[in-house]
Symmetry: C2
Subunit: 355 residues, 2 copies
């Protein structure tokens, strides 16, 4: 039984405490400066306002200023901030984290360092000074998991990825139980990159629904034309997304098998129900990226950020011959759309010579 300090009380940071608590661990859930209302609500009645559900007993709730006390005596740390908060989280924890502390990550994103795309756990470690940095063996939680389902104990399958075998197996042992199935994975680059990229590609899988809404509106009708949807369009985009995720992950040094399994395909499937797909639906309806961002009312759009990051990488890689302009037609279209172009999916460029 461990004492786990969780930094970030958003939906996923909170939901993942459920299996840890059910397994008998003690949780100290610390909100960021953005999570004050969540912490206040959970302190008063236990219910997370974003999840409309309470955690099991065994958790205490803390404002961001109480992080030093929450870290005092903690055996393990879980990073639950958004990708925009990674540098802040490293700074906040740098003086508090002890050498060798087990470290679990739920943050998803990509960073462009001017030459290569990097994954979030590595970006976090950049902010931790030596001699502690090299003693930390971060483990990333990847795979299909909607927070509102995990807190309600819906059967869930995920992968815990780390270069360090002992680290990934330790966290898997702490978290896994009858409803939370955990596979340790050595392919940390593949798992983290696929998890970040799926947020981008799920924007594209949302296009079909929006395009149909626009056609229905143009015809003066309802969202669906004669009760018929655009699943053919969506399925082709879904399949091309998996193919391009595979190519990008391999360019970053990850494994194709990771994309073609739980972490890639499974997570892209579940993300069809998440906000990036709703954002894509707005774009498919014909809104510009600025109009669509405005309609999302301040929601964090990590998929959009990742599109722009990959766009920078592709431009640099094209210039040095690492990629060719004909590769990744869907991601390149997403980059154009993120830059202001209207949606016009290039189906004819998909799948290379043989589907």
């Amino acid at each position: 039984v461990s004492v786990v300090c969780v930094l970030g009380a958003g939906r996923m940071g909170t939901a993942i405490c459920t299996p840890l608590l059910d397994n008998g661990h003690e949780i100290r859930l610390v909100g960021t400066h953005l999570d004050g209302a969540y912490i206040g609500a959970m302190r008063s009645n236990g219910v997370h306002p974003g999840l409309l559900h309470a955690l099991p007993p065994g958790a205490t709730y803390h404002e961001v200023g109480e992080l030093p006390e929450a870290m005092n005596g903690a055996d393990a740390v879980l990073i639950g901030v958004s990708s925009a908060g990674i540098a802040w989280a490293a700074q906040a924890l740098a003086g508090l984290i002890k050498p060798g502390t087990p470290l679990l990550f739920i943050t998803k994103g990509l960073e462009w360092d001017g030459s290569e795309l990097r994954i979030e756990p590595d970006a976090f470690l950049d902010g931790i000074p030596e001699p502690v940095r090299s003693t930390l063996k971060p483990v990333g939680v990847t795979g299909p998991c909607i927070a509102g389902e995990l807190i309600r104990r819906v059967d869930t399958c995920v992968a815990f990825a780390s270069r360090d075998k002992a680290a990934r197996e330790q966290w898997a042992g702490m978290a896994a139980n009858s409803y939370y199935n955990v596979w340790p994975s050595a392919d940390v680059v593949g798992c983290e990159a696929a998890s970040a990229l799926k947020n981008s590609f799920s924007i594209a899988t949302g296009f079909a629904a929006g395009r149909l809404e626009a056609q229905g509106a143009a015809a003066g009708g309802s969202a669906e034309i004669s009760g018929v949807a655009a699943h053919n369009y969506e399925a082709a985009v879904f399949a091309e997304s998996v193919v391009e995720m595979g190519g990008l992950v391999q360019l970053m040094g990850g494994r194709l098998e990771t994309v073609n399994g739980l972490v890639g395909i499974g997570d892209l499937n579940v993300t069809a129900h998440a906000r990036s797909a709703r954002f894509g639906r707005l774009l498919g309806r014909g809104l510009s990226v600025d109009e669509a961002v405005e309609q999302m009312a301040g929601a964090t759009l990590e998929g959009l950020a990742a599109i722009r990051t990959v766009g920078r990488a592709l431009a640099a890689w094209d210039a040095r011959g690492r990629t060719k302009p004909g590769q990744f037609p869907l991601m390149r279209h997403l980059v154009e759309v993120a830059g202001g172009a209207r949606v016009n999916v290039p189906f004819g460029s998909f799948f290379g010579d043989q589907a």
Copy 2:
């Protein structure tokens, strides 16, 4: 411009005439003895009763007894019957089809010959006597395509698979246009096997919705518990389905890349909206296979037939060491469910050692 005789006026047999007609070909659409009502309706007002939509001009409609006249002068033949009708179709056409006639197949299914699983185009050819048989080069239509969308010209991507390069390219040239994107594929076994298997696995992807309905009913509530679905459960089943489709297709001699692209992943994605997923939903709710079949009111369940066929293959392959009992845990569970067992997805057996 060709004269195409289409045998089978079901939804897909009819819908695929749309791009052929838009490309200027002449269609003679011949119903089977099951399609009499469809032919009658299309003759009277053009609208297909299952699709609620009419074909473009250029088609004539024929009862099954008029097949000889419809075949007279036809340049090409399209087989649009269900898998149960393949032997009948071969018999009906055996005396009518000329050597070397281009032949397109939309039928999906698997046949067990006591030693190996076989694909439908090969089973069809068994029913055509020599010397014609060896002159026919069948081409299979595979990939994600809902008929009601194709007839309404929703963007659609498919693969035309044949061992014969000229044959697949000829049909692709006849059918492809601005909304119907066609990739020729040489991997006929991979394309046909994935297309048949996806009907089986989509029964499993339907379990999640039914399980949730059952829980809601048990709690005295509505179909969804607190507005939360079981997408995590569904996504894990979807991912394992793709992994197992890949393994089975490779055992049959097909390519893994075919599964991990448009034909496998794309088609499994779209089939989540088709009747096999609705059938799986009934099973997930707790109904036995017999109860669920009864509720489907006579719908053709090719996915259930394919489960039973694969079950026979796995039993035989296990006995001779070609497969191991620990492989394909989801398909084996489907075989149990088809035999009367209740749904209880073995998540812990999924994904092997590394997800």
